[in-house]
Symmetry: C2
Subunit: 393 residues, 2 copies
C-alpha cells in the first residue's frame, strides 16, 4: 500500500461526531470529553474512522478512487489504565475506500498479515472474520427487534470472557427463550458451511468471495469464520474482523476492523463504501514481546566524533555531517578534550567507534578511528572514515 496519503488531523472533535455513530459504550463509558473554554462540548478523538470519513467526504470529488489512506494518530479513551489499554495510545489506521469489495477486504487483511510477517510473527496470527449482514439475518431469524439484537451482541461480545452459563443467563435476562438460546448455541458451533447453507444470500456470498480471495492470496489456514466477532462500533455494515495472537497469555485482539457502507453519507451527499482497521501500539508491543520479536531499536551511535580544541569544532561538525550523509548515526562531542577523555566519552555514549584527530592529523587529512569493542585503532584518510565504519558493520 504505497502511494497512500498520510492524514494528519486534529485531536479534538465535536462530541456529536461520536454520539452519532461510534456506539453507546464508547461514548458513554470511554469517550474522553469535556466542555471547552468556549462552552462547546468536545472530545479527544477515541478512534480515527469518523474523522477519516469526514475528511474524505470533504474532498470527495478530487480524490481518485480507490482511496488508500493510512494514519498513525494518538487516540484517547477515558478508562482505568489496564494491561494493553492506556488512556492515550497510538494506532495505525489503514483504510481502503472504493474498489471491488472482496478485493479491498482481502487486501486489507493481507496488509495486516504482511505487517506482522515483516516482524517474523505471522505464524502466531488468528484472523477471525464475520459479517454484520449475516448477523442481522440470523437475529432476524430469531425474531429479535433491532434494539434487542443490539443488546444480544453485547452478550456475544462478552461470551468468551464470562463463560457459557453466564452467557445463557444474560440472554435469558434479555427475554430470549430456551429455543432461541439453543439456536444461538448451534449457530456458534456449526461452522461456516452449515451457516452459509441456512442463511444463503448476499452477506454469505460476500463472505464466500472474501474467503476465496484470501485463499488466492495464500492465506488459507490463517483465517477462520467466527460469528462471535461483532466489533463494538455501530457503523460497520459488512465484513468485520479481529486478528488475535495465538499465544495463550496474550488474548487481546491486535487488529480490529471492518467494512462501513454508510459512514461517508453522514458528511455529505456522496456515498462510498470503505474497509479499514486499527492496530494499537500497546497490543503490538505485547505481541512482539511475548514472541521475542522486538527489533533492536537501541539508539546506539556508529561513531562519536571528538573535538580536540576550539579551532577544530567546525572540522568535527563537518565530518559528522559527511558521515550522516552516508547513513551513519553520529554524535559530536560538546567538550574540547584530548584523546583519552574523548574515548571515555565515546564508550559512555555506547558508540561503536571513536573518531579522533588533532592538529597534526587534520592538516594531513587523516583521522584516528578507534573500534571500541575490539580496542583497536587505525589512522585513515578522513574521506575514507565512512567506508571503514560501514565495512566493519
Amino acid at each position: 500500500m504505497s502511494g497512500d496519503h498520510y492524514a494528519n488531523l486534529t485531536i479534538l472533535e465535536s462530541f456529536e461526531l461520536y454520539a452519532a455513530k461510534s456506539g453507546e459504550e464508547l461514548v458513554n463509558e470511554q469517550l474522553y470529553h469535556f466542555v471547552d473554554r468556549g462552552e462547546r462540548k468536545v472530545a479527544i478523538r477515541p478512534e480515527m474512522t469518523p474523522t477519516l470519513a469526514r475528511l474524505v467526504a470533504g474532498k470527495f470529488m478530487e480524490l481518485p478512487k480507490p482511496i488508500r489512506w493510512f494514519s498513525i494518530p494518538n487516540l484517547w479513551r477515558y478508562e482505568k489504565p489496564q494491561k494493553g489499554r492506556l488512556r492515550e495510545h497510538w494506532q495505525l489506521n489503514i483504510d481502503v475506500l472504493g474498489g471491488e469489495r472482496s478485493m479491498a477486504d482481502a487486501e486489507t487483511l493481507l496488509f495486516a498479515h504482511e505487517l506482522i510477517r515483516s516482524f517474523g510473527g505471522d505464524s502466531h496470527l488468528d484472523m477471525r472474520i464475520n459479517h454484520r449482514g449475516l448477523m442481522d439475518q440470523f437475529f432476524g431469524s430469531l425474531g429479535l427487534a433491532s434494539d434487542q439484537a443490539h443488546l444480544v451482541t453485547k452478550a456475544i461480545d462478552a461470551k468468551d470472557k464470562i463463560g457459557i452459563e453466564k452467557f445463557h443467563k444474560w440472554l435469558g435476562d434479555l427475554g430470549l427463550g430456551t429455543a432461541e438460546i439453543s439456536k444461538i448455541d448451534s449457530f456458534f458451533n456449526e461452522g461456516f458451511e452449515v451457516v452459509a447453507g441456512k442463511f444463503a444470500g448476499p452477506a454469505v456470498d460476500e463472505v464466500k468471495k472474501l474467503f476465496e480471495r484470501l485463499d488466492d492470496l495464500g492465506l488459507r489456514g490463517s483465517y477462520r469464520f467466527d460469528p462471535s466477532i461483532m466489533r463494538g462500533l455501530n457503523y460497520y455494515t459488512g465484513t468485520v474482523f479481529e486478528i488475535y495472537d495465538t499465544h495463550p497469555d496474550n488474548r487481546r485482539a491486535m487488529f480490529g476492523g471492518g467494512r462501513y457502507d454508510n459512514l461517508l453519507g453522514l458528511f455529505g451527499k456522496n456515498q462510498l463504501s470503505g474497509v479499514g482497521f486499527g492496530m494499537g501500539d500497546v497490543t503490538l508491543e505485547d505481541f512482539l514481546r511475548i514472541h521475542d520479536l522486538v527489533p533492536d531499536l537501541s539508539a546506539a551511535l556508529d561513531v562519536w566524533v571528538g573535538v580536540p580544541d576550539r579551532a577544530h569544532f567546525k572540522p568535527a561538525q563537518d565530518i559528522a555531517r559527511r558521515l550522516r550523509a552516508e547513513g551513519l548515526s553520529v554524535g559530536v562531542s560538546l567538550d574540547e578534550a584530548g584523546f583519552g577523555i574523548q574515548i571515555k566519552q565515546a564508550l559512555k555514549m555506547g558508540a561503536r567507534y571513536a573518531l579522533l584527530f588533532g592538529e597534526e592529523e587534520w592538516k594531513n587529512g587523516k583521522v584516528v578511528l578507534k573500534n571500541l569493542a575490539k580496542n583497536e585503532q587505525l589512522v585513515v584518510e578522513a574521506s575514507e572514515a565512512a567506508n571503514v565504519i560501514q565495512a566493519k558493520n
Copy 2:
C-alpha cells in the same frame, strides 16, 4: 544530530506544570485547559520543554550526557486562529542538555541553520541572539525591581509592533522616568561592542564565546545581537534567540529558543543546563511558500499494477511487493478488468507507469509496461520491471 532519541509523550499535562514556569501570558491567555471527568484541572500541552525536562529528570541517571533529544509533538494553544497561528500545530523540538555551554548553544543554532539550508533557504535567515543574564544586569542598572523588569520585558516584546511612541508611553505608565527611558533607547541602539563594554561579566562572556563559536562554524554574518529578543517563557536563564525570515511579508519568528539552567531541578534533585528550540509547522510552511522552496510532496505513484482476473490478484500483489522493496511507490488495482480500463485507471491515479499482464504474459514471465506520459509500451521480463521504471526516472 543523529543518534538522538525520539520522545513520544502524552498530550495532557497537569495545569500546574505550566502555571509553575511557562509564563503568565501563556497560562492565562493561551493555555488550552479544562476540568476532566475526574475533576482534575488539566491542559493540552502548549509547548514541549517542561514535559521534556520532567522526562529527562525522571531517567536522569541512566542517560549518558550530553543528551540530544528531538520530538515533533502536536501542541495546543487556546487563541483565535490567525495567520501562522492555529489552535493545534506541530512543532519540531531540539534540545541539548549538558556539554560545554557555548558549544551546545552553537550546535543548536547550527542545526536550525542547516535544517533551512537543506531546503535551500539559509540565505533568508536572520538569527537574533540575546542573553537573559545580560538583560537582568541591564534592568538592575536601571534600578528596576524584578516585578517591574518583568513588565518592561512585555513592552520590549511589543516594541517593534507598536512603534517607539507607544513604547515610550508604556514605559512611562510603568513608572519609568525620562532618564531610564533614554537609557533603554540607547541600550537598544548602541550595538554589542558598547553593551559588552558597559556590562562586562559572565553573561557578556557567554555571548562573546557563542559568537566566536558561530564564527568558527562559518555563520559570521548570519546572526546578530538583538537585545529586543526576550522570549515569553519564564524558564530561560541564558542565551535566548529567535530566527526570522528576512522576507518583508513574513515577519514572524520561525524558530525560538534559549538556555534553561533550572528547569530540571523542578522535577528532582539533579540539575543540568539545557538549550533548545521549537520550530512550528505553519511558520516553516509560510517561509517555504514565500520563497518558493516547498519540495514536491505529491503522492504520485510510480506504477499502477492492473489485475486481469481473479486468478491473477496474487501475482499482482506479489509483483507490487517486489517493486515496493525496490523503493517504488506502487498501487494495485482493486477491480478486475482488461488493459484499456486498467490504463484509464492508472492515468486517473496519476501513475507514471501502468504494469499490465494477462494469462499469456504471466505464464511467460513477462509484463507490459506502459509509460503513460510518453504513451509508449514495451514487454519486459517481470523481474526487470523495477529496473525499467527506475531507469526512466
